[in-house]
Symmetry: C2
DNA sequence: AACGCTTAAAAGAACAATCATTCTTTTATC
DNA sequence: GATAAAAGAATGATTGTTCTTTTAAGCGTT
C-alpha cells in the first residue's frame, strides 16, 4: 500500500482556483493544471473523479469558508444597525483575507453554466438572514420592503463598492482603494435609505 | 465579382451573442457557430478576421446601443432626481428590450480575460455622467461623496435588482419579477440615501 | 535490518473529440 | 470569363479522460 498525499489535493485545488480567477472558467484545463501543480495529468484523477467534481469541490470549499466567516460575531436578534454593520465588516475582512476565494465565488455565481446548487449549509445561512430582517421590521427599525429591494440596497451597494476596490478602478478610470472609513461612510448612507 | 451578403454578418453576430449568453464565453466555438448560423466555418472568416475580432465587434455593437439608449431624454443640467430617474428608466427599458445585449455586456465586464478597452464613445458618456453629478453636488441637491460610493449606491442597487429580475430568483430562491412600481419604490429609497 | 510481496500512487503515452485557422475546390454573380 | 464568396476538407494544437507501465510505501517473514 501507498498512502495518498493530501498535500497534492491541496496544491491541485489551489492552482485550479488561481487559473480560473486569472484566466476565466475555460482557462482551467487538466493538462495545464497538471503542469502548474508539477504533477502528471492522471494523478489529478486519483484525487478528483473528473473536472466537474473538481469544480464542485472548489465551490463547496469557498462556500464553507464564506458562510463560516459571515456568521462570526453575528446573531439574528442584534440591533439592525449593529447586525448589518457586522455583516459588512465580516464580508469586507473575508474578501481582504481571501481575495482568491471571493473572485472565484463571483465568477461561479455569474457563470450561466453552473446551476445554482443549494447546499444545506447555505440554506441555513439564508434562513438566519431572513430572520434577522424580519426581526428588524417588526421592531420598526427599518421600512418593510420586498426582500429583493432590501437586498439590492443593503448588499448590492456593498458588493459594487468591493468590485471597484478589487478592480482598483472605477467609472472614472482612476485608482480606488477601499478603507474602513469609506466603508463606514457608505454604510451610514445605506442605513439612511433603509430606516423608517 | 460577387457581393458580400451583409445578412450573413448579422446572423453570425446574433448567433454568437446567443451562444455566449447561454453557454458562457468558451461556449462560442467557430465550428458550433457555423453550424448554428447554417454556414461553413470558413465563411465566418470572410466577415471577421478571427475570433477575437468577432468578440470585439460584438462588444462595440452592444456598447454603441447602450450608450445611445442611456442618453435618451437626458441632459447633464437636469434636476438630480429627474436625471437619475431618467437614467434608471432608460437602463430598465434597455434591458427589457435587449436582454441578450445586457447579459452579454455583463458577461464581458465580469470576464478576467478582457482588458477594459475605453472607446471614445464610452468616454464621452462617462464625462456626461460626471458633469451631472458635479452639478447636483454644487446645487446642494445631494451629499458630496467619493464617486465610487455614489456610483455604488445609485447604480449598484439598480443592477443588483435587475440581476434578480433576469435570474428570476433571489436569495430566498423564490421567483421575482421587477415592475415599474418596484423600481420607483427602490429609487425613492436610494434618493433618501443620497440627499443632503 | 534486509528481503520480497502486495497494492495503489504516480507517471506518461495514447485516445478520440474539438478547437481556431487555413488550403483547396466549387459556385454564384457581375 | 473574371473574381470573390462560399463550402468543405485538412492542419496542428489542445481538450477531457483512460490505458499501460513504473515506482514507492507498507507489512510480514527471515
Amino acid at each position: 500500500m501507498r498512502a495518498k498525499d493530501e498535500n497534492k489535493a491541496i496544491v491541485i485545488r489551489e492552482k485550479a482556483m488561481e487559473m480560473i480567477v486569472s484566466q476565466g472558467f475555460d482557462g482551467l484545463s487538466m493538462h495545464k493544471l497538471a503542469k502548474a501543480a508539477g504533477i502528471s495529468v492522471s494523478t489529478i484523477y486519483i484525487y478528483f473523479k473528473n473536472r466537474e467534481d473538481l469544480l464542485n469541490q472548489l465551490y463547496a470549499e469557498a462556500t464553507g469558508i464564506f458562510v463560516q466567516t459571515m456568521l462570526d460575531g453575528f446573531s439574528a436578534d442584534m440591533t439592525f444597525e449593529q447586525g448589518l454593520w457586522q455583516q459588512w465588516r465580516n464580508r469586507y475582512h473575508h474578501i481582504l483575507r481571501h481575495p482568491l476565494h471571493h473572485r472565484f465565488w463571483e465568477q461561479f455565481r455569474n457563470s450561466p453554466l453552473i446551476e445554482k446548487q443549494n447546499d444545506p449549509c447555505e440554506q441555513r445561512f439564508k434562513q438566519t438572514m431572513r430572520d434577522f430582517v424580519a426581526n428588524a421590521e417588526e421592531k420598526k427599525e427599518i421600512v418593510k420592503l420586498p426582500p429583493e429591494i432590501f437586498w439590492a440596497i443593503a448588499y448590492g451597494t456593498f458588493y459594487t463598492l468591493v468590485k471597484f476596490h478589487l478592480d482598483n478602478s472605477t467609472m472614472a478610470g482612476l485608482p480606488f482603494t477601499l478603507s474602513d472609513e469609506l466603508l463606514k461612510l457608505t454604510f451610514d448612507r445605506v442605513m439612511q435609505a433603509l430606516r423608517l
